[in-house]
């Protein structure tokens, strides 16, 4: 591990025009991006958009159909074995051996990475301390709840002190408290210089990332910091207080000039290219006699709005120069 290029100039991941086809289906289509060391890169996209396939390409699990990629400074085409020694991977469903104890799971993964006994013991102690797994050390993995399973899986993935960790939907199916605790842990590890590549569906998690990439139908739409992403949302958003709200959503979605409407805290949030014009119109002549418009407010876009705009292709709402 001492031979690993640790030069700060070397990006953790550098992907150039990645392509992966399965027969006629193109799962990953000309994806290029860089992830610098120490970043927490959030990879967002709907199910089936190619997130997991990108991870498999970068870890050498799947061969590339086109393009090239360097991971921790090594070429995925030729050095995938060396890459695997330097990166960690936690798969979607925290794949652990249910009939082994916490300690046995950890020791198993440690030995796979051929850690010497002294180092293995030190690493297990460190991980137990970091993840607070101590009280569960002799418990079977099957008996752990989702949050603890996920901590153990994370522990197994980072036993060998990887420079880069791929976490494939690390928080799927666990409760919000456990999710927040996991993110606190990721921040702490990130502070130690570990780079994270995290796929997620949760927008609040995307906000915690240092960089976010949106992927749709195998294409990377954008990669930016959350702040700049939100700044790229140039259109303003109106929230309407309207009664009754559910029929209002359906009616508003079909109204001319409205791209979409969603329910946020009991109000209807409107996505439109010219919201000011629309509001003036509505205030002049409210077109829905069965609905009562009570109030309106201008709101700041959040990550969910940005993601929506990118994933549904509402390019009118976005400032392409900002991102």
């Amino acid at each position: 591990m001492s031979t690993t290029p640790q030069n700060a100039a070397v990006p953790a991941i550098s992907a150039e025009h990645l392509v992966r086809r399965f027969g006629k289906f193109t799962a990953v289509n000309d994806v290029s991006f860089r992830v610098e060391q120490g970043e927490i890169f959030g990879f967002l996209g709907p199910n089936g958009s190619g997130k997991t396939t990108v991870i498999k390409l970068l870890t050498g699990l799947l061969p590339l159909s086109g393009g090239s990629a360097q991971v921790v400074g090594l070429d995925v085409r030729t050095d995938s074995e060396s890459i695997r020694e330097r990166v960690g991977y936690m798969s979607q469903n925290f794949s652990l051996y249910d009939d082994l104890t916490v300690g046995e799971n950890l020791r198993f993964y440690g030995r796979i990475y051929s850690l010497e006994p002294a180092r293995l013991k030190r690493r297990i102690d460190e991980i137990i301390a970091l993840n607070n797994l101590g009280p569960y050390f002799d418990r079977l993995a099957a008996q752990l709840s989702g949050g603890w399973k996920q901590r153990l899986a994370l522990g197994c993935a980072m036993l060998h002190e990887p420079q880069l960790l791929f976490l494939d939907e690390p928080t799927a199916g666990i409760d919000p408290v456990a999710r927040r605790q996991l993110w606190d842990l990721l921040f702490e590890l990130s502070g130690h210089g570990i780079t994270f590549f995290v796929t997620t569906h949760y927008m609040d998690e995307a906000e915690r990332c240092t960089e976010v990439g949106f992927v749709r139908e195998g294409r990377l739409l954008v990669k930016e910091s959350p702040r700049r992403l939100k700044a790229s949302f140039k259109s303003r958003l109106i929230e309407l207080e309207v009664d009754p709200v559910m029929p209002a959503l359906a009616a508003l979605r079909n109204a001319p000039g409205v791209l979409d409407a969603t329910l946020r805290s009991g109000h209807a949030r409107i996505y439109a290219a010219e919201p000011e014009h629309l509001l003036t119109e509505w205030q002049r002549a409210w077109p829905f006699p069965e609905l009562t418009l009570r109030n309106h407010a201008w709101v700041e876009p959040d990550m969910e709005d940005v993601f929506k705009a990118y994933s549904q292709g509402f390019t009118q709402l976005l400032d392409s120069t900002a991102a």
Binding site: R84, Y89, S91, N93, Y97, I112
Partner: protein, 405 residues
């Protein structure tokens, strides 16, 4: 709950269950192809239960017209496939001759036949399979009886009976009717004793069937356990998702395969020791060449663990793996020669038998332990098992490297 809603509930479960089978194309293929295939295979396997074409050697040390005639007569039936061989004198060595039986026509046999008291023919039988040995001896006696019943031979054998009769009898014979003469002939024939053979049972002189069947029992138990245990190992990890996790580690595929085989190999070796212990202490079966038996068991286990692993690498779920294991093991029971010699199977079916590791295990085990044969007699079987182990384990690793978990 009325009848209709109960029926609807049952029908929806039944439909769902049917869809599980229907959607699993691997299991569906097995279900459609194998029953008719096995019916044909097993049907042909047990179509004829008589032993035919048993390799046998005839040593004619008499070299007379009579002995030549006997040889010709014996060759008429297809129970034995007689072949000539260079006679080196002494008792024939069945192993070296690759024969299950040897018949020696002793020198001066024709002259003793002329005298009316033919010297007994020497029969050497491979007693490894006790039931077959009994059957072969009976068949040979039948053939000798047929030979004895031929008119000219009969005359020779009946002659001494006449010699003992007083002359008055011959006088009275001249006066009896042809009808009575025929009856009398039958009565005389009954007096003629059937020829005895001087039978030597080799390799399993006690003709103990348990000695023959022990390797079959051991092999079958181990085959069953190894294949089913092993078949689940990779499929289980694939279902649990841990395989994907393993594959992103620096572990090589061959390391996974060997790592998976080792503990089961240890367990199986222990189980073999237990079964051998039971056979020895409870059934008093003796085992010769223990070192060689160890090698045979080891290679057999590697080969069957490899078969299980290959099934496991190929299947996506444990359910599939178990189905495939069962369908693989099904023909092994009747066709491997575990309980009955594969010599009884027709040639086409024996080609299938030769594919099973258990067939070669039983052959090699019996060669070494029962016949106390030298290594060269079962080297071929060991080679098959060794190649089988490499091919199946290597195949499993190859399949693993091709699947993107």
């Amino acid at each position: 709950m009325n009848i209709r809603s109960i029926w609807n509930a049952i029908a929806s479960v039944a439909l769902k269950e049917f869809l599980h089978v229907w959607r699993d194309k691997r299991i569906l293929a097995l279900i459609i192809i194998l029953p008719p295939f096995f019916t044909l295979l097993f049907g042909h396997a047990f179509e004829a239960t008589e032993l035919t074409g048993v390799p046998a050697v005839i040593l004619d040390r008499d070299q007379t017209d009579h002995s030549a005639k006997l040889v010709k007569q014996l060759k008429k039936k297809n129970t034995f496939s007689w072949k000539g061989t260079k006679d080196t004198g002494g008792d024939p060595d069945l192993l070296r001759l690759h024969a299950s039986a040897a018949l020696v026509i002793p020198k001066d046999w024709a002259s003793t036949l002329e005298n009316g008291t033919p010297a007994p023919l020497k029969l050497f039988l491979d007693g490894t399979d006790a039931t077959s040995a009994d059957e072969l001896e009976g068949r040979l006696r039948e053939m000798l009886g047929d030979f004895q019943g031929q008119d000219d031979v009969q005359e020779l054998t009946v002659k001494p009976l006449f010699e003992e009769l007083p002359p008055e009898v011959f006088e009275s014979l001249k006066t009896i009717t042809p009808e009575n003469r025929a009856k009398l002939k039958v009565e005389f024939q009954k007096l003629v004793k059937p020829w005895q053979t001087d039978t030597h049972i080799l390799y399993n002189p006690g003709l103990r069937f348990i000695d023959y069947v022990t390797p079959g029992i051991i092999g079958l138990i181990l085959q069953l356990l190894t294949v089913t245990l092993m078949a689940c190992t990779i499929a289980r990890e694939r279902e649990a998702g841990t395989l994907a996790q393993l594959i992103v580690t620096p572990l090589r595929r061959m390391e996974i395969v060997i790592g998976k085989v080792l503990p089961y190999l240890g367990i199986s070796l222990f189980l073999i020791a237990v079964t051998i212990g039971v056979a020895h202490f409870h059934f008093s079966v003796h085992f010769r060449q223990p070192f060689m038996l160890g090698i045979i068991c080891l290679l057999f286990l590697l080969c069957s663990l490899g078969s299980g692993l290959l099934i496991s690498a190929f299947c996506h779920t444990q359910t599939q793996a178990i189905q495939f294991a069962v369908f693989y093991l099904l023909p092994v029971f009747p066709l491997s020669g575990a309980f009955a010699p594969i010599e009884r199977l027709p040639d086409g079916v024996r080609l299938v038998s030769d594919v099973f590791p258990l067939t070669h295990f039983c052959e090699a085990f019996r060669m070494a332990s029962l016949r106390n044969a030298e290594f060269s007699y079962f080297a071929g079987d060991l080679l098959f098992l060794a190649i089988g182990a490499v091919v199946t384990c290597g195949g499993a690793a190859w399949i693993l490297s091709r699947t993107d978990a």
